[in-house]
């Protein structure tokens, strides 16, 4: 899975560059989010703009990552397309994840959680 990462203040914004998050990509996503967390990026926004479909394994990877990050930080998701939003609702994950209309709103909300993270990095965008 291609994942474009950029940092806005103390928040890592991760753009999923795939239109389907399924069992084929789930383990990769999970390990990439864990690596991001281990690198100190404890406030993460996952941008689903490109994602049109998520299966149960993709959802499981998101849940697993949420468990990891929420010990010391936060994950928010944004720009959910119709089918992905429907899956979150069907599985009640819309009550678990912080969901925002766009990355700007998500970043603003997480930046308010300054108590959970020290000053963020200003790394250059990378793939």
């Amino acid at each position: 899975m291609l994942l474009h990462k950029e940092h806005r203040g103390g928040v890592a914004v991760l753009l999923l560059r795939t239109n389907r998050l399924t069992v084929e990509d789930a383990a990769d996503l999970k390990s990439r989010l864990a690596a991001c967390f281990a690198a100190g990026h404890k406030l993460q926004v996952l941008d689903f703009t490109a994602v049109q479909f998520v299966d149960s394994s993709g959802l499981g990877a998101l849940i697993s990552s949420l468990k990891l990050v929420s010990t010391e930080g936060e994950i928010a998701v944004c720009s959910l397309q119709g089918p992905v939003r429907s899956l979150f609702k069907l599985t009640r994950m819309d009550r678990v994840f912080r969901i925002f209309e766009n990355a700007d709103d998500a970043v603003a909300a997480l930046e308010g959680l300054t108590g959970k993270q020290e000053a963020g990095s200003n790394d250059a965008p990378q793939d």
Binding site: E24, G60, L90
Partner: protein
């Protein structure tokens, strides 16, 4: 009645292609958007289950999908000839489970696995599983739900 039949190889990328094809077919048949999502979701989960569990990722095995569009309902089947599903999992398909009855404030206790069968159950109006003479069959039926019909009008 309109009938569609697709045979795929026992590969995960073939499952993704099946999902996209089924979604496009549902769109061409004029089914509501939410219903298209539910059908694609159930079919992908059932076919993925066949590849990963019935065939244990063995290549060159067949997964057959059929869809029948009747007046007011859609009937779906996913068929494989691999290892039968354990009876307790077949019961989850038919009757559901409590895997999604979680406390949303207890992050540590959220389920990470066992979601696929429950998603199939919740996506469809009726689900049955049979295994006879080496042929495993997930039969699913759904109708347009009230909010989906409302969204279409």
């Amino acid at each position: 009645m309109t009938r569609l039949k697709i045979d795929i190889e026992s590969k995960l990328n073939a499952v993704s292609q099946l999902g996209m094809t089924v979604h496009s077919a549902c769109e061409a048949f004029g089914l509501p958007e939410e219903m298209r999502f539910r059908i694609q979701t159930a079919v992908v989960e059932a076919a993925s289950n066949a590849v990963r569990h019935a065939y244990d990722h063995a290549p060159d095995q067949a997964v057959t999908f059929t869809m029948e569009i009747h007046e007011g309902r859609v009937e779906l089947e996913v068929i494989d000839s691999g290892k039968p599903m354990p009876p307790q999992q077949a019961e989850v398909l038919r009757h559901g489970s409590n895997v999604l009855d979680f406390d949303e404030t207890d992050i540590e206790a959220l389920p990470e696995g066992g979601l696929g069968l429950e998603i199939i159950h919740r996506s469809m109006d009726n689900v049955n599983y049979t295994s006879n003479n080496g042929i495993n069959r997930i039969h699913m039926m759904t109708t347009a739900r009230e909010e989906e019909e409302t969204a279409r009008t």
